[in-house]
Symmetry: C2
Subunit: 140 residues, 2 copies
Amino acid sequence: MTRANEAWESLMKAYSVLMKQFNAEDIWGDLTMREYDVLYQLSKCDGPLRMSELNRHVLLSQPALSRMVDRLADRGYVDRCPDPGDRRGVRLTLTPAGRATQRQIGSPHARSVTRALSVLTPEELEQLAAITGKLSQSEE
Amino acid sequence: MTRANEAWESLMKAYSVLMKQFNAEDIWGDLTMREYDVLYQLSKCDGPLRMSELNRHVLLSQPALSRMVDRLADRGYVDRCPDPGDRRGVRLTLTPAGRATQRQIGSPHARSVTRALSVLTPEELEQLAAITGKLSQSEE
DNA sequence: TAGTGACTTATGCGTTTGCATCTACTCTAA
DNA sequence: TTAGAGTAGATGCAAACGCATAAGTCACTA
């Protein structure tokens, strides 16, 4: 077992442990964590996002994302309008309700994240962000 | 946005990017990555594993894991026998076929992992393992 | 400008998931 | 020894998922 494999396994375990921990918290209202993630990704970009672009940031197959956006649109959280420049595409934006919901859930969730990572020193946080950043940049 | 939140977001992104990358590789045969993970977790422990113990290492709900083990047992990869010490419980072991399949997939997968993490220095690998280890230990 | 291949999103369909609940067993203590 | 609380895993069911593919659009070329 190489160092790389140990590191990856450790990363996966941390992801799994923390995900379960966050999921168990009673802050998600009528959203699943995956749905929240979609709203969060949309909230980060001010401009409208293409479906394919959003799909790059979310761990979901393209059809699954398509349908999830469908449901979020039905529920009034997301606005999907045709892209005038490319009629194949769609432009996604948060509705005011979607933005409000994202903020309402995001706030306590951000506190949970801070609490969960509070076992790390500021230097370790810095290192973690730098190293994982390097990993995701390496291949996109 | 605190350092902690940035670090967590960066970790999630790395997880998502690498997972997609690994999933896209043509090495999984008739298994999904989740199924492979179950076989892998079983392969790590020599002794038989309880369902609940296995569930702690896998990002799946208890019923989903129960049924996945069901299917893996049907397919001859996993042996589930009643725990003599606790008749509620089950003892899970890899069958020879399960172990062989795990190794067959694990080998190229381990190489992929090594390749994907090769952008990191040995020191960074060390730090990543240490930091993520700290994260998952903090709450179990 | 008609044809071909690439790209973007949607849909059909069988499988898998999570939630709630159930059954069966264990443990504690009266 | 037995009632009641707790734990382990299984099952019913609706919702969500991934794979394969369809439908519509773009871009390039003959």
